[in-house]
């Protein structure tokens, strides 16, 4: 070939390489430590840490620093403006509204996550749970809702309610159980405590659409809510006076309690204790979506590409499946959920049915106003400090007061 043509071809080739090198490709090769703040507890944490370790094995330049602060909301408020915050937050989706309002987390639409992508990858409830004001704020990793985990040896079929929305039946069976066996049928850590989350199957089961909806309307003194409150008072007679996570767990192990109203996080412990357990969906529980959010600090530190990659990996089919198999949680990733091994887990089948009955937790800011009034009202009712109707009226007032502060 002529020298001229050779020169032209070489120049073109060189230019192509240079241009290729200059295209903004995610630079996944810098040495970085990703800070993760989370709320994962106890046994859960082991499988999750393993997932992060696997990522580091595949990408040796990325290390993780996991920590569980005492009070994430307040810690974030001070840390993020200082640039000391985490890159990723692992948190429930009801916090999305608040954190978005404050500007602590960033909308993922700006970083390459499209609605198409999440609709294809995740379950519809999970997708709804991470969208707020038409933007995507987090990637969902698991879904959870509570159901009745019962001791099959103790609670034989005559004591099992058949209709998940028939509360009078549950009450009758609980009375029968106590008369026959001298033990309590249902233990729920919200009985006597300030825990609106564990109260949700009862209230929503009676027909309350939501504690506070997307527009900020509270449904706490509707007739349905009052009926639920009255049922609660009646149920007190067939329950333990003091309930907590530990008391319920110990009761279940020792045969003093037939059923424990709790979520997938307790399954690992129950399996370890060797109880022959079954899962019975009851009422309409809150369906919470556990998510991973990206913070403003990650963007400031220019870690956003790595963070998005990590988040996609963690909520991707492979990692989700691994975590689900160990922790017995329900993945939000559709492929992982439909995987036959995951579908074979009793927990997934049982809790999955509960999720179908459930009410999704909304990411709007108003949902943060619902916990306190409902929790305090149910506690007051249980401890006999207020009559059901009175307590719910007070709860409605408190909820309206809180919502008005947001508007």
């Amino acid at each position: 070939m002529s020298k001229k043509l050779l020169t032209v071809i070489s120049v073109v080739l060189i230019l192509t390489f240079v241009l290729a090198a200059c295209t903004p490709k995610p630079d996944l090769s810098k040495e970085v430590t990703i800070k993760v703040w989370h709320q994962w507890d106890g046994k859960y944490l082991e499988a999750i840490t393993q997932a992060f370790n696997d990522y580091t094995a595949a990408h040796p330049n990325v290390k993780f620093d996991l920590s569980k602060p005492e009070d994430v909301a307040n810690a974030l408020n001070v840390a993020i403006p200082a640039g000391e915050g985490p890159d990723i937050i692992g948190w429930a989706n009801d916090q999305i509204g608040q954190q978005a309002i404050k500007g602590n987390i960033v909308a993922l639409n700006d970083y390459g996550i499209t609605e198409d992508f999440i609709k294809k990858t995740y379950e519809p409830a999970a997708v709804n749970g991470v969208m707020y004001k038409d933007k995507i704020w987090a990637l969902p990793e698991s879904q959870e809702g509570i159901a009745l985990i019962y001791n099959k040896d103790l609670v034989t079929s005559e004591y099992l309610p058949t209709d998940p929305l028939n509360f009078d039946d549950l009450l009758a069976k609980a009375q029968k159980f106590q008369a026959d066996k001298g033990a309590v049928l249902v233990c729920n850590q919200a009985f006597g405590g300030n825990d609106a989350y564990h109260m949700s199957p009862i209230f929503f089961g009676f027909g309350v659409p939501s504690y506070i909806d997307e527009e900020g309307v509270a449904y706490l003194n509707t007739p349905e809510a009052v009926k639920a409150a009255e049922w609660l008072l009646k149920f007190k007679d067939v329950s333990l006076t003091e309930n907590s996570y530990d008391i319920c767990f110990a009761g279940l192990k020792e045969g003093k309690v037939g059923m424990w109203w709790t979520g997938p996080w307790a399954v690992a412990g129950i399996e370890e204790s060797g109880i022959n357990y079954g899962i019975l969906p009851f009422g309409r529980p809150f369906v919470g979506i556990k998510t991973l959010m990206m913070t403003k600090n990650a963007v400031d530190r220019e870690n956003q590409d790595i963070v998005i990659d990590v988040m996609k990996y963690f909520t991707g089919a492979e990692a989700s499946k691994k975590i689900a198999l160990v922790n017995k949680t329900i993945p939000a990733n559709t492929a992982a959920l439909k995987d036959p091994e995951v579908q074979a887990l009793t927990a997934v089948v049982g809790f999955g049915a509960a999720l179908n009955l459930g009410v999704p937790m909304s990411p709007s800011i108003y949902s943060s106003a619902q916990w306190d009034p409902v929790g305090k009202a149910s506690q007051a009712i249980w401890q006999g400090a207020a009559a059901p109707a009175e307590a719910m009226a007070a709860a409605q007032k408190a909820a309206d007061d809180a919502v008005s502060q947001m508007k």
Partner: protein, 281 residues
């Protein structure tokens, strides 16, 4: 009272003493017993086990010391409390000396101002302090916490030391100054050595204040585990979903026993200190 009381009174006195000794000691004993028990509950359903160690195992201690970062938390608390005490003493002693020895305009006002400011409860100014430390860049770091503790115990230390300085006669220092010493030398060479007992007691009290503090530490150094202090870390351990009470008890015993021993060792000082220089509260 020189006379020996009647037997009846004696019995009553001993009954009272024994009753209150049980009252005083039982909670600590309970924690010690619980730290030797395995299990999910801090109490046991075995009534006797609440009073004597029916079962004892060092498992809880082993886990806390070697598997959980308890030693790190403990070390952090020691470091932060010591640093805060040292700084506090330095600042408070010089202020107390000046307030005690010099008569200057506005002295009374300054004293009252000190006292007034100390009545603004720490909890409430915590958010502002957290924001301030964030601005300086010290949020989440031990240095920020040390600063917060120093200023927190400043007023108490200053009042305490001033009260003690008031009881030391000025003569020695005046004599020294006639001989040509400056005020700084008088302070460091004469007043400080004389004030040693008060310095020791004030130092211990300031240390204990920072050691056992919960709120400031939990807000200003919330994460990660390797930076947390002992008391807030143990408290959050007790507040997790499924509480490992045995571990909590082991950690609590580790934190409480040294505190007790220190206070007991200083008992004498408390009594004399109380009737000497000022009123502690």
């Amino acid at each position: 009272m020189n006379r020996k009381p009647r037997t009846g009174v004696r019995i009553l006195q001993y009954a009272i003493l024994i009753l209150f000794t049980i009252f005083a000691f039982y909670p600590v004993w309970f924690a010690i017993l619980a730290s030797g028990r395995l299990g999910d509950r801090l109490y046991t359903l075995n009534l006797l086990g609440m009073f004597i160690p029916t079962e004892w195992t060092f498992e809880n201690y082993r886990v806390m010391l070697f598997e959980r970062p308890f030693l790190t938390w403990f070390k952090n608390s020691l470091l932060v409390a010591s640093a805060a005490t040292v700084f506090s003493l330095i600042v408070a002693t010089s202020a107390a000396f000046a307030l005690s020895r010099f008569r200057f305009r506005g002295r009374e006002t300054f004293l009252v101002l000190l006292l007034a400011l100390s009545t603004f409860p720490g909890i409430l100014s915590l958010v502002a302090i957290a924001q301030l430390l964030t601005a300086i860049g010290l949020y989440g770091k031990h240095v920020g916490l040390v600063l917060a503790y120093t200023t927190g115990s400043l007023v108490f230390c200053t009042w305490n030391l001033k009260g003690y300085f008031d009881t030391i006669p000025i003569d020695l220092e005046e004599a020294a100054m006639l001989d040509g010493c400056g005020p700084v030398e008088a302070f460091t060479l004469i007043a400080l050595p004389l004030a040693r007992p008060a310095l020791a007691v004030t130092a211990i009290l300031a240390f204990m204040g920072s050691w056992g503090d919960f709120i400031f530490a939990s807000v200003l150094v919330p994460a990660p585990d390797r930076l947390k202090l002992a008391v807030p870390a143990l408290y959050s351990l007790a507040n997790s979903i499924s509480v490992p009470w045995g571990y909590f008890a082991a950690g609590a015993v580790f934190v409480i026993i040294p505190t007790l021993l220190v206070y007991l060792a200083l008992q004498r000082y408390f009594e004399s200190g109380l009737t000497l220089g000022g009123v502690k509260g």
